[in-house]
């Protein structure tokens, strides 16, 4: 293309004329983003600041962010009270195991609903959406009863077995897509598979591969962005989940959830009068930092992948 001086000058003039407007827009944008970022980060910053404070700092009205006396003592205390290494290991193992099981089952179902037009498939999809809009609290008590006296088709004798406190409720619900928000995962995977070209499978079928072989060898490798999104969501929600944890495991498990809930209790030696003091609050807030830290660490590294792959999943289609 020919370089035209006249055109270039015209565009320069345009640019200069529009500069104040552009500047104003980017100023407004920066203000908006910084304001929102502050609101989002504030709870985290408060906890971080508080974790270095000694108790008198909390009563001191001149102390808001920066403690008068910096102490690291809460970190050592909380590490011990939470039994952190073992609780973290258990929590991480549980979250990874559950996420993998949910990923596996939801991907299968999502693929089945996306690619096979069989009688009743749209009804099944309707059921998936239905499971989403029912508040989990509605099935809380029946679930509790079911796992307390677990029995399917009279397989376990008259009284059934008590599965609460074991991993079985987790395994059973995760493998059958009834875990936390699994309907959403099925929905995401269905949308994702719908967005993949049909020619891939047709080529595989022509070459004589069966439906399952095609699924595992051809479709799964192509679906990695979708799988990553579902895995990350499942992981984060299992990590933070309190509902199923208190329902299935209860208050006595060795996971971060219970460790966090009991940390203040242990810090004041079980004395209920001290449980609502400022000291207990300091310990609790430091404990919350310990709880968030691993997932924040993962997020910092995977954030890019997380956001980009969500954009590519065709969540939207």
């Amino acid at each position: 293309m020919e370089w035209d001086l006249k055109e270039y000058l015209a565009s320069l003039k345009y640019k200069i004329k529009n500069k104040p407007v552009k500047f104003l827009i980017s100023l407004l944008r920066a203000g908006f983003i910084i304001g929102v970022a502050f609101v989002i980060l504030q709870p985290l910053l408060t906890k971080f600041a508080a974790s270095f404070m000694v108790e008198p700092d909390l009563y001191d009205p001149t102390v808001v962010w920066i403690p008068r006396q910096v102490t690291f003592e809460h970190y050592f205390d909380v590490w011990e009270y939470m039994d952190y290494p073992s609780a973290l290991f258990n929590h991480l193992t549980l979250a990874v195991a559950i996420s993998i099981m949910q990923l596996f089952s939801c991907t299968l179902v999502g693929y089945g609903l996306a690619r096979f037009d069989f009688k009743g498939s749209s009804f099944l999809f309707g059921c998936v959406i239905f499971t989403l809009i029912v508040p989990p609290q509605l099935v809380l008590i029946p679930m509790y009863m079911n796992f307390r006296f677990f029995n399917i088709l009279g397989l376990f004798g008259e009284e059934g077995v008590n599965l609460l406190g074991s991993y079985w409720p987790y395994v059973l619900t995760s493998l059958t897509t009834t875990g936390l928000r699994n309907g959403l995962f099925i929905y995401i995977m269905r949308q994702f598979f719908k967005g993949m070209p049909r020619q891939l499978e047709e080529a595989a079928y022509v070459d004589g591969a069966g439906a399952f072989r095609t699924f595992f060898r051809i479709m799964l490798p192509g679906a990695i962005p979708g799988l990553v999104v579902v895995f990350l969501f499942a992981f984060v929600w299992t990590w933070n989940d309190e509902f199923f944890m208190s329902l299935f495991i209860g208050g006595q498990g060795d996971f971060l959830t219970q460790a966090l809930r009991n940390v203040a209790h242990r810090a004041v030696d079980g004395d209920h009068n001290l449980l609502h003091t400022e000291y207990a609050s300091l310990i609790r807030n430091t404990g919350m930092l310990f709880f968030i830290a691993p997932i924040l660490f993962i997020y910092v590294f995977l954030q890019r992948y997380f956001v980009e792959s969500i954009e590519r999943t065709g969540l939207v289609g």
Binding site: S26, Q42, F116, V134, P136, L138, T177, Q303, L315, V316
Partner: protein, 297 residues
């Protein structure tokens, strides 16, 4: 399978059902069964015995009880529904606006996105519950509230002089107080809208530019219609998100009634009332929006 001489259609049906088997099993045993039991419990009084539980049929008396006798149900029911009605448009418009901003090209765009999505991993489950009634968190919120009451009072006086309808004013003032909550509840919705924005083909905008459309027209005639199906997705998501929020008073009431208060039957009756209300609300929203939503394909 070819040995059975099945048609392609029959084969597809069988394989489809095999793939969907996990869901079918889970739906039957861990969803529909508890769901029907919940409905059943709501018409009964449940007593835990040594080897299981007994049901005593009570008809609709549980429902009559929560509607006519129970002191807390109706207030917290109305408050939860009102919160949802107020929050829903706010969360949707905030996340829509944020997605538009984050979709622009500017320095620090990736970093800003990372922060906007942070609530997805941070403001959830156990952390939110622990923050409730926590001394430090409450002290922080008090600082926030002092600021808001100050600006709120000034704002209130200013707005009252405009003689706008009072209901609208209440809504605006209420909204101002809720800003932090709204922001922290919008993570996923922003992601969904952002993904939607990126999926709009550039060629449409290019064509519009050739036709001489301004960016104002682009927004109303291209961006908004193309994103309209996602508004439905986000409405559904926002509602299911509110179930797990510990700020949801009604859910707390349902839980407490079950384990400490009037018993399982009453608690289930409350949960079913809540569920039916949400179902009706979703139905109304879909009815209103379905005429307006635009599908590209």
């Amino acid at each position: 399978m070819n040995k059975l001489n099945l048609s392609l259609k029959q084969k597809n049906t069988i394989i489809g059902y095999i793939f969907c088997l996990p869901f079918i099993l889970g739906f039957l045993f861990f969803f529909i069964r508890p769901f029907l039991q919940a409905v059943n419990f709501s018409f009964n009084e449940l007593q835990v015995t040594a080897d299981g539980f007994e049901l005593h049929f009570r008809g609709i008396s549980n429902y009559m009880h929560i509607l006519l006798v129970h002191p807390d149900f109706i207030p917290s029911f109305l408050e939860t529904i009102r919160d949802m009605v107020v929050d829903l448009p706010l969360i949707l418009s905030f996340s829509f606006f944020s997605a538009l901003v984050l979709n622009q090209k500017f320095k620090g765009q990736t970093f800003s996105r990372a922060i906007f999505f942070l609530p997805v991993i941070m403001s959830a489950g156990i952390i939110l519950r622990m923050e409730q009634g926590d001394y430090i968190t409450e002290a922080m919120q008090q600082i926030e509230q002092v600021d808001y009451t100050f600006s709120g009072a000034a704002l209130r006086n200013l707005l009252l002089q405009t003689r706008l309808p009072e209901g609208f004013l209440e809504f605006v003032l209420n909204a101002v107080e809720r800003i932090p909550q709204i922001i922290r509840a919008s993570g996923i919705q922003i992601i969904v809208f952002l993904a939607g924005l990126q999926s709009i083909p550039r060629s449409i905008y290019e064509a519009a530019e050739v036709e001489g459309a301004t960016s104002w027209e682009n927004f109303w005639l291209i961006t908004l219609p193309m994103l309209s199906p996602l508004i439905l997705t986000n409405i559904v998501y926002t509602i299911i998100d509110s179930f797990i929020s510990p700020r949801n008073e009604l859910i707390d009431l349902i839980r407490n009634t079950a384990f400490e208060g009037a018993g399982f039957g009453i608690s289930m009756a409350m949960a079913i009332m809540y569920f039916l209300t949400i179902l009706i609300m979703l139905g109304v929203v879909f009815k209103i929006l379905s005429g307006w939503v635009f599908y590209h394909e």
